[in-house]
Symmetry: D2
């Protein structure tokens, strides 16, 4: 039915290429789950952490609701209630299960969820034969958004699995990779000159609405450190009493430290004077040369204050990233992986290392709309804009980010107290 | 090794008989779980409702901790951390997992839990060959307590499974029995004369410590209704505005009604003016002749006040039960079953029907020690006495009570707001 | 207008006598407040503790609502909104302010509240001239209830004032009485024989509905200690690790100890190894011979368990009190007073001492209706019955109870965790 | 003792001038309290609202702690515990009372607080005679900060008094001013050109640390509305279903609307289809031409979304304010006052009106440090920086702001849900 689609050099139409990408991404999600027991798919130990079963279903629901149900002629939903069950936050897409109840949905079972995925996957494959030509562009765009959305959930899936496994007294191991040793790299501060700089996404590929519209900012000259803060440096902060001196902390951070009893990053535990951390490979002695991770914004800011430095703004980060060419930066990714602690700076030749693929980097920028930001029409308009409140921006990407899901303009965001993501610290001055 | 054990007419020693009973009860627990999916074993949707996986393990832990670990020479625990994981409330038995975290323990898996059960079961079977003779009496007594304990958990397992399944929007059905029709029985009030009456367990079989010591109470003359309150009668209360008139309610009951938004028993829902209830067999129209169940003490007391009657005390209930011979009462049980709504009074010839096997019956007695009550030594001393606060006594038994686990002196107890058990109403005056 | 009222030997009619009593009690309430600053009348530091301003108003509202507004021809309420403001829990008497908001009502001011009291007092005095004869009996009964109600609030006023003053870092002193020294009395257990005993109020004077109907109970023989537990004995329990050994505690008590961080009675504080207590006379060293007070039921029960004794039931207490003639018991009262710590057993000749006038004595009886208890018609029916849930009965009276407001059948009641009343421990066995 | 202080044209030294200002500001604080009853000084109905007694004491404590105790030779604190009682949030200045306990401190009394004020005032007057010359500059600076601090509390005092009085069912009136009528002004959008603009305080007078360091921003061209949004416009939003359409709201705003049941600004109430608002002058019909106030950031942002406009950033606001000369803007202030609803735009000739003196104006900027911001040394370093998290910036000033306490660079900040300040809406595009 599609006449107007253009073949590429391999003879593939744009829809065929999109479906190939779709298939690859869908398989990756399932591969992340392979080490899990059925029981691991069920619980929601804290409200931030969704059951793996839910991630598997919700990403599928996205393709069913926004593509198949609207654009594939004659499509019948896999199950009449799944729309209700797996809607996350799209008020415009109808009723939904309260977010804190996700861990009580024992049905559909994992087996049924996998059948749901196959059902939707097959119908997406069927688009090639059955899609009306006039919606091709719309569907290509929705397929891309759906793939990006699923990649976002891949990272959440990894961090949620880590959290769920950590709740078990039995401390099950997720996988057992061979680990490169971290190598020490000398920390330096690289200067960036004062000026008007471009911010935001331009170019051809995909970006989220929150990276638009491109615009200019004026920045004073600043400096960016070439490496992330290491576990060893963070331990110095701890040993210097960092967690018990209010002067380093934001008021709300200090209240959180005391209410939660924080005295180390999430997953760290002390035994006989030595520090260990819980990783996807089980408990390991803390690697002092690896980048510190699982720290909140509050901890990142307190560390910076203690160190006499500061966090960069997201505009400074993006400007530095453009200047120091992150594509040459050492890279891990979900696809190369899957383990923390991570090797530090494996390519010490890079000028400004670890921009991508190690840990997300807290910036001292609140998550707010760019000048000229416009909310999309319809349910997809709820994607980003409505969360622009009481969250801090993170830049870069982490070891759990899919390889083709990071770029210098990407804006990640979490509340200042969040620690269960792979979040770390880059200093500036 | 055991010399002093006495054979019965079938040539079985008392230990052999105890192990036969043990085996039968263990199998029943597992049979209750047969209709479940693996995922259903995991969650704890409210703190009162434990995961089926937890019931399966905790009952097993009881046998391992109090019998095998202490009395079977050379016994090695199945897993070094299970003692920590499956201790429920025995402070004397060591550290334990916080009660509200049970739904986050994905490991051990159901498969591992079943292996744990088999391991313990096999070693209990091995007691016959390996038990030192001098601990026979102790072990016989502990086996009996362990079996009674597991039977208590069987009833909880049924009610927890019902609750867990009800949390699913998909409303899965547990089983599909053929249901006898309820028949109407005329309600009458049977007189019991003033006097000094015996209370508490005497005789040879097992009883819990809270049924001891036997003693006497003086009772004024009173009357007991021959049938339980039916759904139809309860519906009249509802339609007369029972849930919106504070005058029928205890102060704390009225606060609960408003805080929880109660306007019908748990699991009831109205659709187009008709009332349905969620049962283990799925959603059914309310059977007006069946006994009302899933009502709290607050609702039972409010109903009684509205009806111009009252609830019996536990002493009146026990005295009436002795007088009206409950063994001739119509009987359901976990073993005959497993369904609600239940048929009402199938043997209308009985003088005072439905004493056992339909619903637990709220009494207007607080759960307090009998005169002369003594707490047992050691960890088992924590079994009952320490819960004697802010709970009301229920008498009788329900459709989910194992057949040999009910007797007229049995004291069940729950907070006045509990509704997820099969709890109903018997009136007195 | 009243023709049928009978004069006594002093020539006073029954209404004149009732009004004399009313006047005396109203003045006592105000005398309790004399040491307060205006600011002390305002706050509600915990929900149990009402502002003094509220006690002054609410007791006045009772007379206005149930007597003046209904029976004094032409009476106009002092203020149209006070009915709403000062209704406590009488749903039948109309709308009311949420209980936890009482501390935010800065208006009416203390001055206005006192004017309200005078207004109502004057109109009550005017009853003599203006009351229609046919309601005399009704009004006499309501005056008596109103006076008893105000006396109940006098005791609450004292304990609430103590709590409010204790919240001040500046620790203001309420009064400075001269204290008799406590004298040691040898503890003995006095036997009471098995039998059927009468329970409940009979005779001519006033009693609350919860003391009715009189009835019989059968009691096994028991023994009652002749003295209350002293601070010195309680300190032994503390020093023996009483607060850190779960075995002495009810499950809910143990949870409360840990949640609240209890390690001594309310108002006790340790300094350099010595224990002090905050009293209405300021901070004092704990008097080891005085009865312990400000302990919860949980602490009373734990102490008894540790001591190898038990608490009496309310039926045992009442039977012992009848047998040992409490009127000969040493007596303090609100009228003789106003201080804690209190002198112990000043009349050691008494057989069973300290039954009244020292501390309320926790019993191991839940607060439940007597057989034959009937709720009164109308709003006053809400007085007692609806609170018969999750409260424990206390018997006796305390140093803050008005002299003519205690009797052996009196049933006081509080939740098992309450500590801000003058509550202590009498042991039995 | 001071030799080096310079006299002005009136012959006053800089210290004399500072003390004159101090005296004037201290009197204003007390004048704000004149209409209050003693009881009104006590409560803290929500944690944000401090007792007037606390404001009076805390501002005094500031002068005592940072000036008298440190720089006046031989100064003895008025009371040894007041340092503890009236420290608000300066961890560096020692221990303090938990913020949510302020309403339970009945002592010191209002009278004692006033004596405390007089004591401190007299010693500040005494500085002239006794201050060592070498600390003159330090003390001048601290006096200025203390005065600015007290002026901030004056505005809080007004809004807290309004809230406290509103909690009274009796609805007491604070004052009864004669009100000018609001006049309609045509709304226009005034253009501001693209460019690099200066931000932050420069010049001679006082500013807070958060207004420093001055720096540059690049702004695209934008437009600013010449008037604030009126009650009438906001009512249109309400009547168009603004509070029930999630599409206008931030996710957290929508959750707040539903959790709090918001359907109008704070203090508005509907009666028979007409809207009234509670003001310091009592209940009034809503003035449709006056600026809407007591709206949260969430409501401001939802209104803007509904209107197809947006809120300005704080940088746009400041740039517009510079361009349109706010000193010519119509002005109310705490000093001219004290009432809401306020007359709108009394000087319609002004180009961009109501920048100051009507309502604070929510901006779409998070409260974050300026580039180059440095935290001060010592306890005063806790003044602003540590609150730079999860708060939104407000610009302008309100009718409750002291006349000399507003300027175009002033950065006020509150959480996005705060409504009890005089906060309103200015639109941009």
């Amino acid at each position: 039915m599609i006449q107007n689609d253009v073949a590429d050099v391999k003879g593939l139409s744009s829809l065929q290429r999109a479906i190939q990408k779709f298939t690859r991404i869908r398989r990756t999600t399932e591969r992340i789950c392979e080490p899990l027991e059925t029981e691991d798919y069920v619980p929601q130990p804290v409200v931030d952490v969704s059951p793996p079963k839910w991630h598997l279903s919700h990403t599928t629901w996205f393709f069913e609701t926004f593509i198949l149900a609207q654009h594939l002629p004659g499509y019948r939903p896999f199950h009449p209630r799944f729309g209700h069950l797996f809607n996350s936050y799209y008020n415009a897409a109808g009723d939904r299960v309260s977010r804190d109840q996700r861990g009580f949905m024992t049905r559909p079972t994992v087996r049924e969820v996998m059948a749901y995925r196959r059902h939707v996957d097959e119908h997406v494959l069927g688009l090639e034969a059955h899609l009306p030509g006039e919606v091709l562009e719309t569907v290509l765009s929705l397929l891309e958004i759906g793939c990006q959305h699923e990649q976002q959930h891949q990272e959440l899936l990894v961090t949620d699995v880590k959290y769920i496994l950590s709740c078990n007294v039995l401390r099950p191991v997720y996988h057992q990779p061979v680990l490169p040793r971290s190598e020490p790299v000398a920390a330096r501060y690289l200067p960036v000159a004062e000026g008007i700089h471009p911010i935001g996404f331009t170019g051809d590929g995909f970006c989220f609405d929150n990276e638009l519209a491109p615009h200019r900012v004026f920045l004073d000259s600043f400096a960016v450190r070439n490496t992330l803060v290491t576990n060893g440096e963070y331990l110095e902060f701890m040993q210097a009493g960092g967690y018990s001196d209010f002067r380093h902390w934001l008021s709300e951070g200090w209240a959180t430290v005391n209410a939660e009893g924080w005295r180390a990053p999430l997953y760290w535990e002390e035994e006989d004077g030595q520090w260990f951390e819980w990783t996807l490979a089980g408990r390991r002695a803390v690697d002092l040369l690896a980048p510190v991770t699982h720290v909140s914004f509050f901890e990142a800011a307190a560390f910076a204050a203690w160190a006499g430095k500061r966090l960069l703004t997201e505009f400074e980060w993006e400007t530095a990233a453009r200047q120091f060419n992150p594509s040459a930066s050492s890279r891990n990714s979900l696809d190369s992986w899957l383990l923390h602690p991570l090797p530090a700076a494996r390519e010490p030749g890079t000028e400004c290392g670890q921009l991508l693929g190690e840990t997300w980097q807290w910036t001292n920028s609140a998550y707010l709309p760019y000048p000229g930001f416009r909310v999309a029409e319809g349910a997809l308009g709820e994607y980003n804009g409505k969360f622009m409140m009481n969250q801090m921006v993170l830049r870069g990407s982490s070891c759990a980010t899919p390889a083709d899901h990071s770029r210098p303009t990407y804006r990640n965001f979490f509340p200042a107290s969040a620690r269960w993501q792979f979040t770390g610290i880059r200093l500036g001055s």
